[in-house]
């Protein structure tokens, strides 16, 4: 899952070298913190959150294979 999120986010931003994904395990769900350069925040969130929502939708679908829940948080470094 981490690899998937990282791949997508790095392809979206201008500064892929500043992307890092932190995995925070929980009982019911895993949270992935997506860290990007402040100038790239908009590229990952999109207008009205459209890109971030699409990313969440895809991550949730893939996590269903392992019957896991995932949350995504997008953070500017």
């Amino acid at each position: 899952m981490k690899a998937l999120i990282e791949y997508i986010v790095k392809a979206l931003v201008d500064e892929p070298e500043q992307v890092s994904i932190t995995e925070v395990p929980g009982d019911e769900a895993t949270t992935f913190e997506v860290h990007v350069a402040p100038t790239d925040l908009g590229k990952v969130i999109g207008k009205q959150g459209r890109i971030a929502n699409a990313l969440r939708t895809v991550a949730k679908a893939v996590a269903m294979k392992d019957k896991r829940k995932v949350y995504l948080e997008i953070v500017a470094e």
């Binding site: 899952m1 791949y7 500064e15 890109i51 939708t57």
Partner: protein
């Protein structure tokens, strides 16, 4: 910043990039599925995902597929190259084809209903591509006409009796 002034890529370059993105995505997600470019017609890139895990990428009413398709488009074009706009049609496990068939059936049966009752019929919200399938199916119908109303993501089609102005 990596803002080099690169040449505008051709549709073929972009199609190859889009397919590479989908392939890498499927691999990174550890899904058992294969990705192939089925056609490139003008600026429309058709990419199919098939295999054991492909159906995971469809979602309810194709929501996951739509999300993935949008991500791949942004990843490929970065909203740049304005005039060289690319359209990516992503399918998984033949979902789009099945959905198109069922939308055409729905359009025809609702048209019959409108014809019989003289009252308009409303279809649940559909995305732009799906609405186009419905509009196209009924464009030549002598008795009914269609229009869309509402804002995304609630934009939906209304089928009404054709106005007989003439």
């Amino acid at each position: 910043m990596t803002q080099e002034r690169a040449e505008v890529p051709t549709a073929d370059d972009l199609a190859q990039q889009a397919v590479a993105h989908v392939s890498h995505l499927v691999e990174a997600a550890q899904l058992n599925a294969s990705v192939k470019l089925t056609s490139l017609e003008g600026d429309i890139v058709n990419i199919d995902i098939d295999g054991e895990d492909a159906s995971l990428l469809i979602g309810r009413r194709g929501q996951v597929l739509d999300a993935l398709q949008y991500l791949v488009l942004v990843m490929t074009t970065h909203d740049k190259y304005g005039s060289n706009r690319l359209r990516i049609h992503l399918d998984a496990d033949g979902y789009r084809q099945r959905r198109a068939d069922s939308l055409r059936d729905l359009a025809r049966s609702l048209a019959d209903q409108v014809r019989a009752t003289g009252e308009e019929a409303v279809i649940e919200p559909l995305n732009a591509l799906e609405r186009r399938i419905v509009h196209t199916e009924l464009v030549d119908d002598p008795d009914v006409e269609t229009y869309s109303e509402g804002e995304e993501p609630h934009r939906h089609i209304v089928i009404t009796p054709r106005r007989s102005d003439s």
